[in-house]
Every structure is written in structure tokens, then in C-alpha cells.
């Protein structure tokens, strides 16, 4: 499998570390909502089809990537840095620093 790192270009999967389901929302650090924390840590969508997931190019530029990959065919339809990930960025703006 090849993942096209936005910085390094197409690289073999051996250079990457899988960081799992990218749909999980981490509660605000101070949140005491245990259900939300549990869902974040333990519960997975685990879809058969397109999967929004996080990979680190640990054997290259070490950036984290948000990858949409089909779990039935392993076809990759999009790759982007998690930094500048609008969804995340927006959320953090809303949250402020802490």
C-alpha cells in the first residue's frame, strides 16, 4: 500500500504508523463528561468502506495525516495534514486555549 504524503510524496506503508479512527472527538481537557471520554477512547465506527483515519509519517517527515481510505479495497481517496485540518482548527478556535 502506498500513502501519498503531502510533503514527501507517495511512500510505502512501512514508513507510516497507524493512529486509528479520525472521527473520534476528544472532549475539552477539563470536561468531566465520562461518557464522552469513554466514547473517545474506546468506541469505534469501524466502517466497511471509506474510513476517516489518522496516520503518522513516522518514517519520513513525521507529520500526522488525515487519510480517507476504503477498508474494503484499501483505496485511498484523500490525504491531508492534520494541522490546518479545518474541522480541528475551528474546534480549537472555539475552545480557546484550554
Amino acid at each position: 500500500m502506498l500513502i501519498t504524503c503531502p510533503y514527501c510524496g507517495p511512500r510505502d506503508v512501512i514508513e507510516f504508523t497507524y493512529q486509528g479512527d479520525g472521527n473520534r472527538e476528544r472532549p475539552q481537557p477539563a470536561s468531566q463528561d465520562l461518557d464522552a471520554w469513554n466514547a473517545y477512547v474506546y468506541d469505534r465506527l469501524n466502517p466497511a468502506g471509506d474510513h476517516n483515519e489518522i496516520w503518522q509519517h513516522s518514517g519520513g517527515c513525521r507529520a500526522h495525516l488525515r487519510v480517507v481510505r476504503n477498508t474494503l479495497t484499501h483505496e485511498i481517496s484523500s490525504v491531508a495534514f492534520t494541522r490546518g485540518d479545518h474541522k480541528v482548527a475551528a474546534r480549537h478556535k472555539a475552545e480557546g486555549k484550554l
Partner: protein
């Protein structure tokens, strides 16, 4: 000043890892291996949006103009610089003390300077079969069009993380973690036997 010790020294190393011609050299030597021992190896990292200032800083200090684009770099023989990650660059100088030269140029507002002069070992492989030998280790395309002179790449061979800069049409400088240097050097020599190699 105290002499720095290389991880490839003192040499309890086997003969075929030391200076001289080895492997199938009777049919010609097609790669030359050496350790370049630069005085300074720095990592410069810019905060998002401040990359241009950092690149300008590199030019001010080293005189090297980095082209745009991922992995772009350049070298003048004595000094080299290349991008290896978003906003991050490796800058190398034959001389020691490059860190202090950057101290006032790369301000905390622009980014950070990390001195890796001891932590990375620089190995040079040159010759007509340099691409062939490196292709045994790294799953990246070494062909000149895909990997132009001056450019840098971050990659790995199993557990050994490596930054590679192409410093000539058939010459590459490889930066590996010091603790892995001896193992990697052995592997490199082993892979060179087939084409005949010389250690300088």
C-alpha cells in the same frame, strides 16, 4: 580542542569496513563510501507562517538559497541545507559553531534551533552504482528527475531513520542517528560488495 570521536571509530571494525577497496573491486569500483564528519548539523524549524523568514535566515547565515517546494535544498560543498519536513530544515556546515551563528537570526518568534552535531552521523556514497546500492535499502525513487541535486528526503530502513540529500548527480549524503551509524555502515558496505566499493 578535543577531537570528536566518530561512531565508526575506534575501529574494532572488520577489515572490509575500513579504508581500502573491497568486494568485487577487481571488476571495477562502482561506489565510494566515506564519512564526511561535518562540524555542525542543525535542525531549524519555523512556526506556521514563518517559513519564509527562516529560509531567508538560512540564506543570511550560509549563503545558500533554498528553492521553493517540499524537500528542496542546495549545497556549496562546504555547507548544505534542505527541507525534510513541513517548516523544518537540516543545515550542515563543515565548521563547528553554526548554532551560535543562527542564535540571533532564528528568533523564538520565527522558530527553533536544535543542535544535532553530535547526534547525527553523515555518510557519503558516491559513484555510478550509488543509486543501485541505496535502492537496496530505501523505498524511494532515486532517479535524478524524481530526486534532483540538492534536494533532501526523510525516509527509513527498518529501524534506521535517515535523511538523505543528493549532493551530486551520483552522490548522496545520508544522515543517520549516531547510535545506529555503525550498524548502518556495515549494512552499506555489505550491499556494496556486489558492485565493488572503496572506503575513503
Amino acid at each position: 580542542m578535543v577531537e570528536r570521536q566518530s561512531p565508526l571509530e575506534p575501529a574494532p571494525l572488520e577489515l572490509e569496513l575500513r579504508t581500502g577497496s573491497h568486494g568485487d573491486f577487481e571488476h571495477g569500483i562502482e561506489v565510494i563510501l566515506s564519512e564526511t564528519r561535518p562540524g555542525s548539523i542543525l535542525q531549524l524549524a519555523a512556526w506556521p507562517g514563518r517559513e519564509k523568514e527562516l529560509i531567508a535566515g538560512i540564506r543570511t547565515v550560509t549563503g545558500l538559497a533554498l528553492p521553493d517546494g517540499a524537500g528542496a535544498g542546495s549545497t556549496d560543498g562546504a555547507r548544505s541545507a534542505f527541507g525534510f519536513a513541513p517548516g523544518k530544515f537540516t543545515v550542515v556546515d563543515e565548521a563547528e559553531g553554526l548554532a551560535s551563528a543562527f542564535a540571533n537570526v532564528v528568533t523564538p518568534a520565527i522558530g527553533t534551533v536544535t543542535d544535532l552535531s553530535h547526534g547525527r552521523t553523515a555518510i557519503r556514497i558516491a559513484g555510478p552504482k550509488a543509486e543501485w546500492v541505496l535502492a537496496k535499502f530505501f523505498a524511494i525513487d532515486f532517479a535524478l528527475p524524481a530526486f534532483p541535486v540538492g534536494a533532501g528526503r526523510s525516509t527509513m530502513h527498518h529501524d534506521v531513520f535517515a535523511q538523505i540529500q543528493r549532493t551530486g548527480a551520483d552522490q548522496f549524503d545520508i544522515y543517520v542517528f549516531r547510535s545506529f551509524a555503525r550498524s548502518f555502515w556495515k549494512a552499506l558496505c555489505h550491499a556494496g560488495e556486489e558492485v565493488g566499493y572503496e572506503v575513503q
